[in-house]
Amino acid sequence: MSRQRPAGLQKALNVLGPFIGLVLVIALFSLIPEVQGRFLRFANFKSVATQSVIVALGALGMTFIIITGGIDLSAASNIALSSVIAAYAVNAGLPPLAALVLGVLTGGLVGLANGALVTRLRLIPFIVTLGMMGIARGAAKWIAGNQKIDAPMTWVNELMAKSPRPSWLLLAPGIWVVILFAVVLAVVLKYTVFGRHVFAIGSNESTARLCGIRTNRVKVLVYVLSGLFCGLSGVMEFSRLTVGDPTVAVGLELDIIAAVVIGGGSLSGGEGSILGTMIGVLIMSFLRNGCTMMGWPNYIQEIIIGAIIVIAVALDRLRHR
């Protein structure tokens, strides 16, 4: 075979690739005199991290789905629905914790519906979640009465505050939540039987079935997991906006998918990593942040991010040849 690189180095490169991209982006903006001093500040990193929380939470679950070879186009609608439900619950006088749990569970429920439809009806995930994208968005608008829901301020809104209340937290609680779950999911993916089965299904579903893996069960679990994270992301969106907005996050599912892909995930399944995905999220956030600070027009930003997605995937193919 024409492959001479040892497997260890190969693995290192897989993670290193996106990481180099991230370093390049940060380095680039650090070199521009106009924003140099401001860009590298802790306060700016803090605000970029806060801005990344919503996409990051969605991308955690999406990574699992993409590794199984599936896709979830309903992620962003699910986020909007969950944020509306959380706002609705707070407004209805429920304790904030109950509202939070309700929001997360809503997300999980949407995920369960996705998973059940994909496995029971044997429909392809693209179609199922495309349908669910409309259903969840519509449900969100319906529940919100076709307008945003103004809810009273509670501690839930502190989750995404740039300056956290107990100041020793340093970062918004939402960021810590992302870090915590990223570590947990990275371990689950690499070191548990469930994680191994997720990879096996994405690599070759027939083989997985042959090996006695209960593929349907794993897939449903993966969609539920992704749904729960969308729900959590929705709660964070509510926390950030301080209102439940059914029109929020339109098109965000593509950002989420892009983050996974930039991080080395393959849409044909069997590849992807949590670390890569998180780096993918950060690359996009830092680009947005830098472009805004520079006052560059939006179209430049869109062109750059579009180009980065294509380049990332092209390089990935190159690496696998």
Binding site: F199, N204, L210
Partner: protein
């Protein structure tokens, strides 16, 4: 042979070498192909056959050496040049688009059109013409290729090559997925091609058929051409000796084993994809061969038994207890293990490592507190790699990078790893080299000696006759005959598979097996 002495060979390769990194894939290989000649290219997997054919097709460039077609220098810059030079490749893995029809596949890339509008009439005419050329006018040009049998697909592929006015046809393991009957039809087509001055380079592991169809042969070993000559008068044993050098002793090694009490019995098992219910009994330490044509229901029976296809009637008893549940998972927990006939599509997750593939069906031993322990996993796998003599850089290597024979060993190793006591092997030796084959036969024997029960599905009669204790024959979905091995021979097996009953003095069986 009717090659006029003055006429230059259609193809001449001289001193061709190619290295990949430190590996010398081809070392100073020379090769000549005459007009209308069928030339067999023989060698173990990894001997350099595919590298040589890739160079010929233009897919890769040689490091040294030159090529001539009809006496003119030929230095392809890419696969397009190969096609224009009149070289068509027919690969082991079929390259047809299953959703397109036969005619659409035949003209694919050379569609008949006027200003972009497809000319359906002309397309059909062209397709029919091509199917006539390969003497299979009965194949309907309008049906999607996905609905054809493997044999018919192969014919469509050859028809496509002929339509391209190919003068050199490279066939890489064309019969590996064909039944004997389809193979015979293919040989007839090849003989017909000779009449049209088409030359064929024929690559195959089935030496008997090579002997039948080829005019001459060249044997490659470790990237070198170690011998070539006319097929007539050459003994099979000599060719095998050339292929393997000194290491080869016996084609069908037999391991002594004793047959014990029954462990598996199927009672009128019927699945949604099976056309008839099947009953059979398998004993400890027994190797039960399953013969039959491709599509005769053998694989469907195995898949239903293993829970991959849905069962709709009958019962299965394992070691005295009835089998419950519907999923492969319940089967594995009862000691069943299936080796899929589709190694790349189903048997293995090609992008995962050797270790992952071997342990996928049973990760429980490596789990503590819910976390996997990769170290233990690697150690266990290393043992298996050694035991099965798998050529790999280690447990972490991606399975897709291994040769076919070694891939198959990994798939087999999985069954050993999950400690299956009843092995359902579906075409375990398809498309792999002779040495790997012999090793696989040997393990099957050893497994039987350990008291395991083996169901061995194969379309290759010599191996069934060589290693089984008993052979059952499928015909049109039903099990029609089951007899101990001494009562079978190739003609009677063939007759049972093709006409549904064993022939003791049946001339039809004789003719087909010939």
């Amino acid at each position: 042979m009717t090659i006029a002495p003055a006429e230059p060979p259609v193809l001449r390769m001289a001193g061709v070498s190619k290295s990949f990194g430190a590996t010398r894939a081809l070392d100073d290989v020379s090769f000549e192909l005459g007009r209308g000649e069928v030339h067999a290219l023989i060698g173990e997997n990894g001997a350099g056959k595919s590298t040589m054919m890739k160079i010929l097709s233009g897919a890769i460039a040689p490091d040294a050496g030159r090529m001539e077609i009809d006496g003119r220098p030929y230095a392809p810059a890419g696969p397009g040049d190969g096609l224009r030079g009149g070289i068509s490749m027919i690969y082991q893995e079929l390259t047809l688009a299953p959703h397109l029809t036969v005619e659409e596949n035949i003209v694919l890339g050379r569609e008949v059109h006027a200003a972009g509008w497809l000319d359906r009439e002309a397309t059909r005419r062209k397709a029919r013409e091509a199917l006539e050329l390969v003497r299979h006018p009965e194949i309907s040009p309008a049906i999607p290729v996905g609905r054809l049998s493997v044999g018919a697909k192969q014919i469509v592929e050859i028809a496509r090559a002929l339509l391209n006015r190919s003068r050199i046809l490279v066939m890489d393991e064309p019969t590996s997925s064909l039944t004997q009957e389809d193979s015979l039809r293919l040989f007839e087509i090849i003989r017909g091609l000779k009449g049209q001055d088409v030359s064929v380079i024929y690559i195959s592991h089935f030496l008997e058929e090579v002997q039948k169809v080829a005019d001459s042969y060249t044997v490659l070993r470790d990237g070198r051409s170690v011998g070539s000559g006319k097929m007539e008068g050459t003994r099979l044993e000599d060719i095998i000796q050339l292929m393997v050098g000194q290491k080869f002793t016996q084609l069908f090694p037999r391991v002594e084993h004793a047959v014990g009490e029954a462990v598996l019995s199927l009672d009128r098992l019927k699945g949604t994809k099976m056309t008839a219910p099947v009953s059979l009994t398998l004993s400890k330490g027994e190797i039960l061969g399953i013969a039959g044509l491709v599509g005769s229901g053998r694989s469907e029976m195995l898949r239903t038994l293993f829970g991959l296809d849905e069962a709709e009637g009958g019962s299965v008893v394992i070691s005295g207890a009835e089998l419950a549940g519907r999923t492969p998972w319940t089967r594995i927990s009862r000691g069943l293990g299936l080796l899929s006939e589709d190694r790349q599509g189903e048997g293995l997750a090609l992008s995962l490592s050797v270790a992952d593939n071997m342990t996928l069906s049973d990760l429980a031993p490596y789990r503590r507190h819910g976390l996997l322990r990769p170290g233990r996993q690697r150690r266990a796998v290393s043992d298996l790699i050694g035991k099965l003599k798998i050529k790999t850089k280690g447990p972490a290597q991606t399975v897709g990078d291994l040769s076919g024979g070694n891939q198959q060993k990994v798939a087999l190793a999985r069954l050993l790893h999950q400690k299956a006591s009843i092995l359902l092997l579906d075409e375990p030796t398809r498309g792999i080299d002779v040495v790997s084959k012999a090793q696989i036969y040997e393990w099957i024997g050893e497994l039987a000696r350990e008291g395991k029960a083996v169901l061995f599905v194969s379309s290759y009669l010599p191996e069934l006759l060589g290693i089984c204790d008993r052979i059952a024959v499928f015909h049109r979905g039903a099990l029609v005959e089951s007899r101990p091995i001494p009562e079978w021979d190739a003609p009677s097996l063939m007759a049972a598979a093709t006409v549904g009953r064993a022939a003791r003095d049946n001339t039809m069986g004789q003719r087909i097996a010939e």
